[in-house]
Symmetry: C2
Subunit: 394 residues, 2 copies
Amino acid sequence: MKNKFSILANEYRFMLLDNVLPFWLNHGFDREYGGMLTGLDRDGSLLETDKSIWFQGRALWVFSEAARLHGKQAEYQEVCSSLVSFIERFGFDPSDGRMYFRVSREGKPVVKRIRYVFSETFAIIGFASYSRAFGKKEYATKAYNLFHTVLDTLANDILVPKYERKSRGFGLPMILLNTAQELREACPEHAEELNRFIDGLLKEIETYFVRPELEIVVEQCAEDGALELEHFEGRLLNPGHAIEGAWFIMREARYRNNDATLMQLGTKMLDWMWKVGWDKEHGGIIYFRDALGKSATEYWHDMKFWWPQCEATIANLMAYSLTGDRHYLEQFSQADQYVKRHFIDGEFGEWYGYLHKDNSLSTPLKGNMYKGPFHIPRMYLVCNSLFSELAKVE
Amino acid sequence: MKNKFSILANEYRFMLLDNVLPFWLNHGFDREYGGMLTGLDRDGSLLETDKSIWFQGRALWVFSEAARLHGKQAEYQEVCSSLVSFIERFGFDPSDGRMYFRVSREGKPVVKRIRYVFSETFAIIGFASYSRAFGKKEYATKAYNLFHTVLDTLANDILVPKYERKSRGFGLPMILLNTAQELREACPEHAEELNRFIDGLLKEIETYFVRPELEIVVEQCAEDGALELEHFEGRLLNPGHAIEGAWFIMREARYRNNDATLMQLGTKMLDWMWKVGWDKEHGGIIYFRDALGKSATEYWHDMKFWWPQCEATIANLMAYSLTGDRHYLEQFSQADQYVKRHFIDGEFGEWYGYLHKDNSLSTPLKGNMYKGPFHIPRMYLVCNSLFSELAKVE
């Protein structure tokens, strides 16, 4: 008789391969112009013809990982090749090598965000994963080179607007951590360099954003590390974001032979931000909280978005797999049940993205410039792997 | 016995002078560093020490108009002088003469938005109104000069990001219309020039944004006027914004001896967008709609914000005063009753800013970088004047 982890592994594999990925292959994959459309309505019909450059890299990562981990190279070869080609042909501004944020369906530039490097970081993880899944080492090299372009861009300080108050944001080191982890898998020859880079990011996160004095992870602080509690942004807590960072750190603990210090850092971040973020009344991870419990200024603060639920699901299961502490398994179940009850669309597949605080639907669309094939399939991918491991142990 | 319009005139005057303005004078006016703080919690306590440059100009307009129209020069001299001084000392970047968006409490630059001229337009209306209220003609001249700086900035095309799809937005001509109208009151010697400028704006609004084929006012269209129905932004309807523009046009009709063509344009915009925007289930003007009724991507689309209610209240009362059509008076009453029931804070004064679709409170704060003393006191000011006129006629 199969144990419960093996049942869950199959369930998550089914949701990945037979529900979520087919939704995007059937409705988002643009066989005419190449790449992935993400502006899709509930039933998959097209709401927006522009393409997100973030999502070309993110979808490439997702389909490549699904191909690699589930032996689906033949099935996902076409979409992955198309994504790679779209990124290489239309993702970069030839004048400076920086990437666009949004292009038209056929690939004409529409928006470039010069102050952010996230189009680049998602292309890096896409190329890295594509290289591993399809044995194309040249894309590991391209990923590595693009990673260094990003580091150069960051070093040149052009990302800091002239007049902004100098602050540190959690998002950048958190995304760079994940980027370097993915790149390391594709470029083992650079593991030593990337480990040192990751050491720096971990130190930055722990020093500046993990704040024992309030038992919170902040999104922003002053350059010298001072809390900015007199400003809206300085008090802003984004529990889903912090919990995503927590499992990147737990993943690093696993990579480093279950390093106890990193395990403690990751689980502490999860513990604090689950407590802050889980809505005890209606369930689900709430979007924003205020560090001092003051009134929110972001008017969508009390909504439930899809991706914080994904990150909380992964983080709790990973914490259980690392520590064996059953309260993480219970929290995983809370998140898992909440998603099944409120987010999954039983009729057309995939998940809704945006619920009100009381879990009623705000908008039924399946994708836009910020929601597409990433957090949800990543959750099914990562949790399927964790369940498969747990099934062997139990 | 007083008639109902004179009762309403008194009620709106009371709300302006004894409720809303005292809230900002008592809690927002910064007697230490000068200017107006707007990041205030429900009870007026400070949530954010930075100052919005928009709101220095907007508050200056509001307090100057209240001083001028209600003989309160002595009461509001201090706050108006402080606002003028704060704008002149801290609002401008000396390197290029452009204005900041956000500064610290003591006036240090924090954010500058080089692609927008709204800090400038609100300073113009503030200076213009200050000039009229306190007999300081030099501020009419400063307003006029700043207006020409704005026109030069717009002509230089530096506001268009390199890669953005070339589109036209409703916001700019709409705000420029209001700016030119306010400036004309302070600079009658430039009326002819400003009338011609306003003619151009009216033509632009009617040609590009008022769309009889769908009976809507769009927020954005292609440079050549094509509807962009394949894009989220091209389908986005902002009923409160369109209705605000509608009463600026009705105001122009009044200025031009009840010009019938402009009256029809303004009331048509109101008719269409009231139909699109009024929530028949819960009341109130909803924030966003989709031109084709497709799923929204902006997740706050179904919320009720304070300012669309203000604009709908003014527009319906003005339409009634222009046309005598009683259905506008009925719509005014719907908006007025809705506000009284859901937005006004009976305990601490002023209004809430952000309600969910069902009118439950999203956040109780009274102000932030976008909510401060402007739409609400402007509504009480404009409606008080309209009621006073109507009371004389009835």
